[in-house]
Structures are given as structure tokens and as C-alpha cells.
Symmetry: C2
Subunit: 202 residues, 2 copies
């Protein structure tokens, strides 16, 4: 399978997933903001010219959450997700979807305002609003982690997608100073072999 990947983007989630599963993969590498992502050729893979995307034989699929669920269903033999009859199943799904539903919208705003836009175009109201919202989103993660090391029992794909979102949120200024469980969680994730191998891959 081929992963379309750019370091410092959501696509690290897919590389991390493959590393945790020990599945072989090929990387097609871009840089963040790469003009090569806006060619007509790449737009056949991803209509908005973004990463990640995955090619599996003739099948092309984008959206990190979709790719993860696709790989789990087709290639993981039941690993990294609780079964539908597990008491952790609802928790798993809730935290799986939490990344894009709750954490990433303010993260997107902060990336646009503080990374993509030149400083003179930065809107401080947007930055303030997004940073405050991010703190609230991380407070719910803090609550979800009470008494546990991972969001849904053992380490699962929910920790890949929402874990990565949490790492990015903290890096962009989401307040974790009053959130010891989130801090410890981030350290725990970063210490995993799979995460480190994913970072080293590109």
C-alpha cells in the first residue's frame, strides 16, 4: 500500500497506524504546502490536494479517519479496535470521532492564523477564540483519561487519531498546564515505538 504523506500534517496518523500494525508500506512524500500536491495528477488522488491519501491496489481513499477504519477492517485482523460487543466500543468510537469533530476545527484555525498567514494578516480575535476552545476540548480529554492510560482501554486507533490531535493541540497553545492526565498521555504516546518509527520514516 502507498501512503501519501507530508511531515507535520494529519498524515502522520496513517504512518503511525502502519507502524503499530507492522504492515509494510511505501511513502509518497510531500512537503507541507508543496506545489506538487496541487497538480492535476495528484488531484485525481485527492480532489483538494491534501494529505493523507492511501492507495491499496486500485483503490484510492482519503480522509484520515476513513483510511484508519478501512485499514483496520481490511488488514488488521481485529487489532487496535474493540469489537462491537465490547463494553469499550462506544468509548472507542466517541474518542475516534472526537479528533475531527472537536479538536481539529480550532487547530485548523490556529494553523491558518499562525502558520499560513503572514503576521500582518493575523486576526488576534480568531487566535484567542480558537485557543480558548482548544483548552475546553482538551479538558474533556483530561476527563476521559481519568483512571486510564488510553482513551478506550488498551491502546487503540482512537489513541492514534485523537492522540495525534491532542499532541498538535498542545503544541499550538492548547492549555495543558492544568491537565496532568493529558500531559502524561502525550508523553506515553510519544514514547511508543510506533510513534517514533513513524516520525523517523520521513
Amino acid at each position: 500500500m502507498k501512503i501519501y504523506h507530508a511531515p507535520n500534517t494529519r498524515s502522520i496518523r496513517i504512518v503511525w497506524l502502519f507502524e503499530e500494525l507492522g504492515l509494510p508500506y511505501e511513502l509518497e512524500l510531500f512537503k507541507l504546502g508543496d506545489a506538487a500536491m496541487r497538480t492535476p495528477e495528484y488531484r485525481k488522488v485527492h480532489p483538494m490536494g491534501r494529505v493523507p491519501a492511501l492507495q491499496d491496489g486500485e483503490q484510492v481513499i482519503f480522509e484520515s479517519g476513513a483510511i484508519i477504519q478501512y485499514v483496520l477492517a481490511r488488514h488488521a485482523g481485529g487489532r487496535l479496535a474493540p469489537r462491537a460487543d465490547s463494553p469499550e466500543f462506544a468509548n472507542y468510537l466517541q474518542w475516534f470521532h472526537y479528533a475531527e469533530g472537536m479538536i481539529m476545527p480550532p487547530v485548523n484555525t490556529l494553523v491558518v492564523e499562525t502558520v499560513f498567514l503572514p503576521p500582518e494578516s493575523r486576526n488576534e480575535t480568531n487566535v484567542k477564540r480558537a485557543t480558548k476552545l482548544l483548552g475546553q476540548m482538551l479538558a474533556a480529554v483530561e476527563q476521559g483519561l481519568q483512571g486510564r492510560d488510553y482513551l478506550a482501554g488498551d491502546f487503540t486507533a482512537a489513541d492514534i487519531i485523537t492522540g495525534q490531535a491532542t499532541i498538535v493541540a498542545a503544541r499550538l497553545g492548547g492549555d495543558i498546564s492544568d491537565k496532568p492526565a493529558v500531559s502524561a498521555y502525550i508523553d506515553r504516546l510519544k514514547a511508543r515505538d510506533g510513534w517514533q518509527r513513524a516520525l523517523a520514516a520521513a
Copy 2:
């Protein structure tokens, strides 16, 4: 099961799902922006005081995508989603996640700027940027609908979540004037009994 619902929010997705499946449900109703959603009692159901949330016996779950996947896995007998070995499976997952990954971030911005904020606080740069982005997101839906009535073959839960997001996006000013497949898709969704019963439910 009990659905925590407020009209004109994402929670219509869950009511629509139950209506399509013919599953019985109870509604706990809020109005958009309701103070009752910010009580300590409701924050035990949803830490950010939002809808939707679902109660199934002792289990409480939030995030609309998670609720849909939970209900499909536990209560739908395989309906409204292709099997993992179906050729439509990747498509289904991709369009399922497209709603929150791609369409809702600019929708959120437009709701904040044009519904929640007083006109004097509105930021026209944000509105313009989000409206343009929404047009691009809908262009990919237009492309995904070429030669088909629904996003992943027969009507599936991807049409509930991304269909509802598409309806809202068009309502908030996402340009569909040059997107005949999206226009026809919106009409097709709105004509469904399940959609109409969901709107009539509250």
C-alpha cells in the same frame, strides 16, 4: 434509546438515522443555544454541553459520527452501510468522514460569524474565506456524485452525515449554482420519508 436533540443542529442526523432504520427512540429536546445544555447535569452527558448525544441503557455516547457507527454496529442488522468486503466500502468510509473532516470546519466558521456573533462583530475576511472553502468542498461532492444518486452506491449512513452537512453548507452560502449533481442530491435527500419524519419529530 434516548436522543439528545436540538432542531437546526447536527443532531438531526441521529433522528434521521433512527427514522431510516425504523428504530424507536425518545427525544430529549433543547433549543439551539439553550441554557439547559450548560447545566452540570447535562455536562455529565456531554462535557461541552452540545448535541447530539445518545443514551442506550447505561451507555452514553456523543459525537454524531460515533453515534451513527455505534447504532449501525449494534442495532441495524447490517443496514445502511456496505460490508467491509464490498467494493463500495472505501467510498462509504471516505464520504462518511468527509462531513466533519472537510465540510463542517467552514460551516462552523459561518455559523459563528453569521448566526452567533452580533453583526458589528462579524469578520468579513472569515466569512469570505469560509464561503470559498465551502465551495471547494462541495465541488468534490459534485465529483463524487457523477453517475450516481448516492455517495456509496445505495443510500447509506454516509448520505445521512455528509448529506446533512451538504444541505447545511448550501443553506449557509456554499455555492451550488454550478453543481447540478449536488443540487439534485439535496432534493433527493429532502424527498426521503426518513428526512421528512425526522424534521417533523421536533
